[in-house]
Amino acid sequence: MNSVILHALTRLFFAAMLIFSIFILLRGHNEPGGGFIGGLAGASAYAVVTMAFGAHVAQRWLIIHPVVLCGVGLVCAILSGLPPLMGMGGSFLTHLWWIGEIGGVELHLGTTLLFDIGVYFVVVGGVLSMLFRLYDTGEEEAGW
């Protein structure tokens, strides 16, 4: 879309939305939020870029192909379920917790976080692979 206002604001929105999506992802630890919603917010950040500059620019900003991102997310989610099966007791996806302190800040870290990050990547990758395909017109393809 050729609009100066949209172009100028897109850079701002993109950064803000992406950071907010990560906030939602981490907030899901104990409060409403999490990988799925965070992923949708992250995908919308790229959707704004796609609207303003086209799919090829959004693809460049994403660095890796959206389906590959899906694969990365799935691998993360699978890995988060594996520790219990590796002789730590319990069944697949039984989540393990590590509670400790780093620099005076109390941290509750668990394999659920890895799982949620995996979901985040899968959602971003899945939504964007559809979106890029829909924006994939003949003329842009020539420019790729």
Partner: protein, 514 residues
Amino acid sequence: MTDLLVILPLLVPLTAAALCGLFWLRPSAQRVVTVIGMAALLACAVALVLAVRENGIMATQPGAWAAPFGISIVADPLSVLLVLAASILAMAVAVFSFRDVGMNELRGGFFPLFNGLVLGVNGSFLTGDVFNMYVWFEVMLVCAVGLLVVRRGGVNLDGAVKYAALNLFGTILFLMGVAFLYGAAGTLNIADLAVILPELGASTGITVALAFFLLALAVKAGLFPLFFWLPISYHTPPAAISAIFAGLLTKVGIYATIRIVTLIFGAQAADLTTVLTIVAALTMLVGALCAAAQSDIRRMLVFLIMSGMGYLLMGIAIGTTEAVSASIFYLFHDIVVKGAMFLLAGAVFFAGGTYDLRQAGGLVRSHPVLAGVFIFAGLSLAGLPLFSGFWAKVLIIGAAMDGAAYWLAAAALVAGFLNLYCVAKIWMEAFWKAAPEGVDIAARPKLPLVVMAPVTGLVLVSTAIGLWPQPLIETADAAGEILMNPPLYSEGVIQAVIEGTEDVTDPVVEEGEQ
């Protein structure tokens, strides 16, 4: 260890799908990942069958959420047999796809979808929870529709839309059945339901739930009045894809029917014997008659699948332990042989250049080995001695005679004869008949090893079962025994879950003690 072994048939295809996603831009790497993944899956399936034969029912609760609130993954003899059959077919199709699936389909995402489909199928077989079964149906449906359109074109799109619409309709019916069942029984865990439903007795909610389930599964399995989506969608995609569809998708429908009708609704389902009997007889006869009228190999095979569905339903309709066990044996045989037939149809196409029987011919001179393998597969499908099909038909017709369902047995024999006619027709037309005018037999392409090895492997499996049926019959009997005695299943699952959780330190309990 139990936890790991039971979950592996789901983890392996899931990991393979994830890795295929990682290698999205390198299709040849996806190929390697899938073949290795399917080989690993086959090994896991064999290990699981052996473990279940030794220990009885095995189960695990992913995430350590306790049953009946968490989802149970249950490996009982029925589940593991079907996981094994599915893995054998998946392995064969993965190898076959080297020749059949071109770059165009690979870029469309053939391998991630294929792995996803195998995951959905294994999930449906292994789940111990009715709602979870619905979820796996959805996984399968999404991947199946994707596979139908990886080769882009009008015919495929047409088939895919019809397939998606009708199967979505079936899945929604299934979901409504799940809702009614939950309303009536208050649980969806199969082990729990098997105990609770007999105590509850008949009620409107349970009857409505059963009606919804049966309608939904009749759509999924392609039974008599609801089969019309089968012939319009299965014969359009590449042979490798139709083989995996033919071998697995409708079979999952019939598996769910067996599981739900016998194990969950045992007592209520007895009233349905008449309906099931009529549907079974009509499915096998109409399927076989329609098949006999076709001249396209794949359309003929699609109707033969439908005919096979009739035999599988027959065991459920008769309703004795012997009959259900026979159905399970038949199901294993059917997955292997119908898959083999579709791959062989693909091989005939590569060799002769056509699926149309009127234009084919002379293959016995140009491809004698293929002709031999095809006739073995065909005879197995038709139920002649030496092959698994013979025992499948002997067991099921024997069960019909013992269950005093004489005219059902007669229908099965007539349908069996028609099946033999169809197979003979394909062989005579495509192989034995002289090649049509102007076709140079010497110029026909040689079939590569990746085509011949999978089909030969599948036929060898069928022959091995035919020559040595005892282990499979024993396991099928054990499976039938458990299905007809719901308390056996429930106790087995509860026992397995307890054994599995003994070595886990439950954080909640520990906190309570402190």
